[in-house]
């Protein structure tokens, strides 16, 4: 018996050693990363024929370089990776993709290397790429895919997602879009339009003309539909918009203001508030059979609902205690329970796609915070403090929050701006997202490719 134990321990030891010596690089994303992983994104190699064809179709001098820049930028914005300056690269892209000279990449302190190749095949763009562990001198991943040339930016995002997933063990969030409200004009007569853009700010498009006030857009789970609030004909109502066809319709037939809409996780219902006689309650409408259900029934303001990812619970905002607080209930409206008990008031709860956290806006002593708490209200953690900010929305992998921030206006009414910002769940890596105009009410799509 004693011998047996020894043997077991011994075999474990033997087993562990080779594993460790061959273990590939991993990036820990659960902590703020103060030492981002140095990595080299080699320009994707391209032959002259393909290069000229893509130049003709896409008006880009070298599409291989362009795609690698998208990958580089994506990985850099995570704060987890430090893409190295291409000037230091010693090996040519085409040769590196066949077989990297690891000692060259080691010399510039790259721990990971991305190489690849773009080809023009039957009027399509074919890309292959490889991820290499420089220290272990091993290939970690190799993938190829083909798409229409116009999709070249998405190719960069998909490569980024695959690399992120391989290195962190979690799904990426680069092949995604943001829907938000584009803002212009003086604060007292703000013009607002629905706008959509890629996660990195490219391909910005306006979806409405700005003739009526629009607010709080949200994607459905497949990111093809949007629900939002429009003041069309001065009647604030929840609308549904099909992004591809541009078709719009009012949701439900309510004799008053409907607002704060979101989709259920299966995309079959819209949950929203309906205000009547000074009282706002939460309702759902089934998009197939149009059946409307009243979910909360209380003479207070109940709004900003958000489903848990399994659809079993709803968190929402209510002032039934006298001030705005966060509550959780079953999705049929039973078992309402207050979960926020810290100092200050709490709004805009949003359930994480991972299910374990609720993000919120908090106002305390004249400052606004974006924070997260567990779904039972414990473990409150404030990520960022500012003059005004609100309305967090989760990246599809639940690692990043996007929200909007407004600046103070001076006595002459100058200095006002509204901008989109993102921050890691860790509280690190806060960054402003560039938009052509001011922006607010951002909502992150799901991953478009999977």
């Amino acid at each position: 018996m004693e011998n047996m134990k020894k043997l077991l321990i011994l075999s474990f030891v033997i087993f562990l050693i080779p594993l460790k010596s061959f273990s590939l690089i991993e990036v820990d994303i659960t902590r703020g990363n103060l030492n981002p992983l140095p990595l080299a994104v080699s320009p994707l190699s391209i032959d002259n024929n393909s290069r000229n064809n893509f130049k003709r179709i896409l008006d880009k001098e070298n599409i291989g370089v362009e795609i690698s820049l998208i990958v580089e930028n994506n990985l850099k914005t995570t704060g987890l990776f430090n893409p190295l300056n291409k000037d230091a690269f010693l090996q040519a892209p085409d040769i590196a993709n066949l077989k990297p000279r690891f000692e060259d990449w080691n010399l510039i302190k790259a721990q990971a290397l991305i190489t690849g190749k773009v080809d023009y095949v039957d009027e399509k763009l074919r890309v292959e790429f490889r991820l290499w562990d420089v220290l272990a001198a091993k290939e970690m991943m190799a993938l190829a895919f083909t798409t229409v040339p116009n999709n070249w930016r998405r190719v960069g995002h998909i490569i980024s997602d695959k690399v992120y997933e391989r290195l962190t063990g979690e799904k990426g969030y680069f092949d995604t879009r943001i829907i938000y409200v584009a803002e212009e004009g003086p604060k007292t007569k703000r013009i607002k339009k629905l706008a959509i853009m890629d996660q990195d700010g490219a391909n910005n498009k306006f979806l409405t003309l700005g003739n009526e006030l629009v607010l709080t857009p949200r994607f459905n789970p497949t990111s093809q539909m949007v629900t939002y609030l429009s003041y069309f004909r001065n009647l604030p109502r929840v609308y549904l918009l099909d992004i591809e066809t541009g078709m719009q319709e009012v949701v439900g037939d309510f004799p008053g203001m409907t607002f704060a809409p979101r989709f259920s996780p299966d995309g079959k219902k819209i949950i929203m508030s309906f205000a009547k006689d000074g009282n706002s309650d939460i309702y759902t409408m089934d998009l197939e059979n149009r059946i409307v259900e009243k979910i909360t029934n209380h003479p207070s303001i109940d709004t900003s609902p958000s489903y848990s990812p399994d659809g079993k619970f709803i968190c929402f905002n209510s002032d039934r205690s006298g001030y705005q607080q966060i509550y959780v209930m079953n999705s049929d409206g039973t078992k309402v329970k207050r979960i926020s008990f810290g100092n200050g008031i709490y709004g805009t709860p949003v359930w994480s796609p991972r299910g374990d956290l609720i993000a919120f806006t908090k106002l305390h002593k004249g400052k606004f915070y974006i924070g997260v708490m567990r779904t039972d209200g414990s473990g409150e953690r404030l990520l960022t403090e500012n003059f005004y900010q609100e309305a967090p929305s989760w990246s599809p992998n639940g690692r990043v929050l996007i929200f909007y921030r407004e600046t103070k206006t001076d006595a002459d009414g100058k200095g006002f701006s509204a901008k989109l910002w993102s921050i890691d769940l860790t509280g690190y890596n806060e960054r402003k997202i560039k938009t052509p105009t001011d922006g607010s009410d951002p909502s992150w799509s799901s991953l478009l490719s999977n």
């Binding site: 604060k187 709080t216 203001m257 508030s273 709004g347 206006t409 006002f416």
Partner: protein, 160 residues
């Protein structure tokens, strides 16, 4: 239910009066234009008719009508009784220091507080509609307590 609401509102009025009288002795603030944090000035006020102000103001997070607001609304009710063909929209607003969605609801609650009061002075609900703008349409774009107090309002607008 209705009785409950009335009881609750009247209790709030009493509490608000207490709060106001307590505050009044402490700070009659900012150039005499605010009492507590309710706007009492006339900078932004327009008139539906001679001597009939178009708007009432609220304390932060509140939809309780102040004594001054009730006086204004009684004038509006008298004017509406005299002009029985006029219909109005009550536009409820909030200041910028709150989340957008909650403020939409708060604006609606404020406009309804004004509507309820007009109705108790004999104005039919058929003649009053309610529209909340939340924090979307401030009159004063400043980021200071006085500007915010001007923006927490319900404005009675002629609809025909």
């Amino acid at each position: 239910m209705k009785l409950n609401k009335i009881l609750r509102n009247s209790l709030l009025v009493v509490l608000a009066c207490l709060a106001l009288s307590a505050c009044a002795t402490k700070k009659v603030s900012q150039k005499g234009q605010m009492q507590g944090d309710v706007y009492t000035g006339t900078d932004t006020v327009e008139y539906l008719a001679s001597g009939v102000p178009d708007r009432v103001f609220f304390a932060t997070n509140e939809s309780v009508l102040t004594t001054a607001s009730r006086e204004t609304l009684r004038k509006q009710a008298a004017w509406l009784r005299k002009n029985s063909d006029i219909t109005v929209v009550l536009e409820g607003h909030a200041d910028e220091r709150g989340t957008r969605e909650y403020n939409l609801a708060l604006g609606e609650r404020r406009a309804n507080a004004a509507k309820d009061y007009l109705m108790t002075y004999g104005i039919s609900s058929d003649r009053i509609s309610v529209l909340s703008y939340g924090k979307e349409r401030p009159v004063d774009s400043g980021s200071n307590p006085l500007a915010w107090s001007k923006n927490r309002r319900s404005v009675t607008v002629k609809a025909n």
